[in-house]
């Protein structure tokens, strides 16, 4: 029987192997599930340097405890994913695909799964949140995933990231290459590849290969530019951007003119949504927005202006920048005819101090929401998010904001 990727003990092992936190004592224990898994665990133990407890020969133990290593594991640990290596056959879902995706097909249906397995996703700008997103759509069985980020792996990138091991940090490989080799292990039915270069410099025709483009860790200017490129193509290319600053996160969605079906018990209703581009959305006068619009939206716009003016990379900030950022806040608020209290000092300070640091639980949440949205957009099933999503661990709210200029005639 094919094991569910999401509940695969191998996945547990994978995470254990990939997590770069040093552990002390007999840190990580887990139960054995079935004979098969037990053997797997036992093998896993054998390849480890410092297994503090002898393996139990794959037998079911009532106490069910095995020890995992305290140090980082060699990549050979990933053998557990071999079980997922199944070849694709034709257009229909294979029996193996059906078995592998059994649970999720029960949620979104066979048609959605088929569309998913034909879709191509491009991701530019890799970080912990994007790693979560990639894992989610790879596990869900997207057709192909193309990764772009030529930055070399650094120690900094280890934070909040389960796709990189400390070994990778010294490997002089690019982030995209390291992500690629890790993600392939999650689901061999998904074609994961690397594209070198800088997305804004690619021709428009390059975009035609994709159904979905996700960007992160790039400047506002580049985001707008890429969003526009997606718009200019004949086929509809969904555009998403995601940023995480410690406990705060933002997702932007542009599905252009999006029609999707709502299935009722006896009929199907077509729903239509018209999305603005990022440029159009953020040009909406602040005064026109509902008073209760999340303050994070405004804070992020202030930070964007600040970063653009100083030519900084997104998240390249510290608490020291606050005085200058407050000047930018005043400028923007004056321009928009709103009171500066709309963008609280505390929030700006929190975002500046966070810089590009990501809080792993927030990465998981943003990557989960983004994964869900991309799956919805590809499958045409379910109400898609329009058009901003915010999460802040400080209040625990996951808020959808519809920020669109007055409808174009």
């Amino acid at each position: 029987m094919v094991t569910q990727p999401a509940s695969d003990p191998g996945l547990l092992a994978f995470y254990a192997a990939k997590s770069n936190q040093p552990r002390r004592g007999e840190a990580l224990k887990t139960g054995i599930k079935e004979e098969d898994d037990a053997t797997l665990w036992a093998n896993a133990c054998r390849v480890m340097d410092r297994c503090s407890e002898p393996c139990r020969g794959g037998k079911r133990e009532p106490a069910g405890l095995l020890c995992l290593p305290q140090s980082d594991l060699p990549n050979s640990f990933l053998f557990s994913f071999r079980r997922l290596r199944i070849e694709m056959e034709g257009e229909e879902l294979t029996a193996q695909q059906t078995a592998l995706y059994d649970r999720q097909i029960r949620v979104w249906g066979v048609d959605a799964q088929k569309r998913l397995s034909k879709a191509s996703v491009l991701v530019s700008g890799l970080n912990g949140t994007v790693a979560e997103f990639c894992k989610n759509i790879v596990l869900a069985g997207v057709g192909s995933l193309t990764l772009m980020d030529d930055r070399l792996v650094s120690k900094d990138a280890l934070h909040a990231n389960f796709l990189i091991t400390p070994d990778d940090a010294n490997s002089r490989r690019s982030l995209a290459e390291v992500y690629c080799s890790s993600l392939r292990e999650f689901n061999s039915m998904v074609h994961v590849s690397v594209e070198k270069g800088n997305l804004p410099q690619f021709d428009g025709s390059f975009y035609d290969k994709f159904d979905v483009v996700v960007v992160s860790s790039i400047s506002l200017k580049d985001k707008k530019f890429i969003n526009q490129k997606c718009r200019e193509r004949k086929k509809r290319i969904a555009f998403y951007s995601v940023e995480c600053r410690d406990s705060c996160g933002e997702i932007f969605v542009d599905l252009q003119n999006y029609t999707y079906s709502q299935k009722n018990s006896d009929s199907t209703v077509d729903c239509h949504l018209e999305y603005p581009t990022l440029e159009e959305a953020i040009s909406t006068p602040w005064r026109d927005l509902p008073r209760k619009t999340t303050k994070t939206y405004f804070a992020m716009r202030v930070l964007e202006c600040f970063e653009a003016s100083e030519n900084r990379n997104p998240g390249d900030t510290s608490g020291l920048d606050l005085p200058v950022v407050l000047i930018w806040r005043k400028k923007l608020c004056d321009l928009q005819h709103v009171n500066e209290s709309l963008v609280p000092d505390g929030l700006l300070d929190r975002l500046l101090v966070a810089g590009s640091r990501e809080h792993p639980p927030v990465c998981a949440i943003l990557g989960g929401i983004l994964g869900q949205e991309v799956i919805k957009a590809i499958s045409g099933k379910g109400d898609p998010l329009k058009n901003f999503f915010y999460f802040d661990a400080a209040d625990g709210k996951g808020i959808i904001e519809d920020i669109s200029p007055a409808l174009r005639s």
């Binding site: 509940s7 209760k292 994964g371 996951g398």
Partner: protein
């Protein structure tokens, strides 16, 4: 990695994860990335609830002496009610904070339970746990009423209860009747043919009522000289033909509803196809790969077979069981991973569905229903794991003012996709975390001790190893290590009517029920009552006390969030958080449409736990 202030608390923490399923995988990853260094995992799939004793949660040199806490926080990623209740009680006893979670499809929920600060997991009454006969009785009642019923939650008091609840949760109305067919095929027909034949079974009752000369036992018996195909045809005609004709004979039943039609094998399959069917002896099926689908060349599990194909699968699967798996017959229980069993159940459920005019379903869909396969999406698990870690960090910092329970919704409510709600206070009459006595109305002249143990102590109170005292007299104790004579004495007691026990239980008696393993003690005031409403009080006894508040409390009176089995409506919980409890720092625009996440399925039958409408139903509301 958690920022500086949190890091110390996180590093020092010793965390226990219970459950290593979908949420567990994600949780382990997020914990490790967040800087947790000491993580212990226990998988309830391997470890029986009864093995997870309190030693696991805290070390204790002598019972009654102070315990050294072992874990800083317990994180649950479990999928069944029994295990959840057990862990809740262990955490209360050890005073270890508990973070509960659950997901189904795109829905999820995270709650925080800290003794003295918030409600415990069991402060809200959980949905009724039904035994299989009760479940079947309700199904029959529905059928007899001829109702076009909306989706209901049928919970069966076994380990897979929660799965069943969830599997049925998302099933649209049309499917519900098919669910009946699957339950019939799996729990009655399959069990009758391949399981323990001595078990009471509706199939006997139905035909022996009229057919006095030929007992049903004979019908299901394979005669020594009978070939498997003839046997299969005989069974086919009996259950889909004869039994339906019998049912049709009762005109009253069918007055307001569509009559089923009897189906006989000769009407469906021609002589020739029988022979083809039977001629497949040279198939290479071995062991677990034995499959009627492969001998009949039915490849795609997503296809809905014709009545003819279903009939062929029925006969072929039955034949394969008899010829290839003879030894197992008599002791088989349905297993969703048993290919041939699922094939048989699919075919039987479809033929029955066809007889009742219900749409037929594919092997794949039937497997989901029969196996109670939980709908799961990796993204929801990832989100819930993130929320768990956020709450865990607050708990470790003892930042109880910011504890939240969070709902992960499929459709936003007031712009919120992730909706935090302030935790509720402990229910002062919760039988688990308070010491309020319970009240049991029961007919002490007719109810036996065993009824009390089964229906109240095990099903309602969720105890595994109970000990029952009447004053200072021990009247029952569960356990393997009892002296023989003591055990025999308890057996005698179990079969006695309450009023006739050596220390009689009558109106006014106070029973003490304890589970030492769970460190839970309950006092139950007994009140004698003569009559019970068969339909509304099928147990023949009514436990109250912990339920009373729930009934008075508007918040809990209708609708519910089923994920953790709490009787609470999401939108109401949210309102309560905004109106009753401390408001959030900012409230959201109220001009947004509030989609109805949970339907109000009011029903006159109070014992029937109503379910959220299927996703389609809630969408319908939205677009009205």
């Amino acid at each position: 990695m958690a920022p500086g202030s949190q890091l110390e608390a996180v590093k020092a923490a010793k965390v226990l994860m219970v459950g290593a399923g979908g949420i567990g995988c994600e949780l382990l990853k997020t914990l490790a990335l967040s800087g947790f260094e000491d993580i212990h995992i226990i998988d309830m799939d391997t470890i029986e609830v009864s093995n997870l004793n309190r030693q696991f949660l805290f070390r204790q040199s002598h019972v009654g002496q102070s315990k050294a806490k072992q874990f800083s926080v317990v994180l649950n990623g479990l999928d069944n009610l029994d295990a959840r209740r057990h862990v809740n009680r262990l955490c209360l006893a050890a005073e270890v904070p508990l973070i509960e979670s659950g997901t189904t499809g795109f829905l999820g929920q995270v709650t925080v339970h800290v003794k003295g600060k918030t409600e415990c997991y069991e402060c809200q009454p959980k949905p009724t746990q039904w035994t299989l006969p009760q479940f079947w009785q309700h199904v029959k009642m529905d059928q007899e009423k001829g109702e076009d019923i909306s989706v209901r939650k049928f919970e069966v008091a076994n380990a897979g209860a929660w799965r069943r609840e969830l599997a049925l949760k998302a099933i649209p109305v049309l499917l519900l009747h098919f669910v009946h067919s699957v339950v019939w095929a799996k729990d009655l027909l399959f069990a009758k043919l391949f399981g323990d034949r001595n078990q009471d079974n509706d199939l006997n009752v139905r035909s022996s009522d009229v057919d006095g000369s030929k007992t049903t036992e004979n019908v299901f018996e394979l005669s020594p000289d009978e070939d498997p195909i003839s046997y299969g045809q005989r069974i086919y005609d009996h259950v889909f033909g004869y039994n339906i004709e019998l049912a049709l004979a009762n005109e009253e039943t069918w007055r307001n509803r569509r009559k089923p039609k009897a189906i006989h094998i000769k009407d469906v399959l021609s002589e020739i196809s029988f022979q083809q069917n039977g001629a497949l002896e040279n198939c290479t099926n071995e062991g677990t790969s034995i499959s009627a689908m492969s001998t009949l060349d039915l490849k795609n599990p997503q296809d809905v077979w014709s009545l003819e194909d279903n009939s062929k699968v029925f006969l072929e699967a039955l034949r394969l069981f008899i010829t290839k798996r003879e030894k197992e017959i008599g002791s088989l229980t349905f297993d969703k991973d048993d290919q041939l069993a699922v094939e048989f159940v699919t075919a039987a459920a479809n033929i029955r569905a066809s007889s009742f005019g219900i749409p037929m379903h594919s092997f794949f869909e039937t497997k989901g229903i029969a196996g109670n396969i939980v709908h799961a999406v990796a993204t929801t698990n990832a989100i819930i794991a993130g929320l768990i870690v956020i709450e865990a960090i607050k708990v470790l910092q003892n930042d109880f003012r910011s504890y939240r329970m969070t709902y992960c919704l499929e459709h936003p409510s007031k712009k919120l996709l992730l909706m935090p709600v302030e935790p509720f206070e402990a229910n002062k009459s919760c039988y688990v975390c308070s010491e309020t006595p319970l009240l049991l109305e029961i007919n002490t002249q007719t109810s036996k001790l065993c009824d009390f143990v089964e229906k109240i102590v095990r099903n309602k109170l969720g105890m595994n190893l109970p000990l029952i005292m009447n004053g200072s007299n021990l009247i029952f104790e569960a356990g393997d290590d009892l002296e023989e004579d003591v055990a025999a004495n308890y057996m005698q007691n179990l079969n006695k009517v309450l009023a006739e026990l050596p220390s009689p239980v009558t109106s006014g008696t106070v029973l003490t029920v304890e589970d030492l393993q769970q460190e839970l003690t309950c006092n139950i005031n007994i009140k004698h009552r003569e009559e019970f409403d068969e339909e509304k009080e099928p147990d023949g006894m009514v436990l109250s006390g912990w339920l009373e508040r729930a009934k008075d409390d508007q918040l809990l009176s209708n609708g519910q969030s089923t994920l953790l089995g709490t009787k609470r409506k999401i939108s109401e919980a949210q309102e309560s958080s905004e109106n009753l409890a401390r408001p959030f720092s900012e409230t959201n625009a109220a001009n947004q449409e509030i989609p109805q996440q949970i339907d109000d399925n009011n029903d006159d039958d109070e014992d029937m736990v109503m379910l959220d409408g299927p996703p389609e139903a809630s969408k319908k509301k939205r677009f009205k």
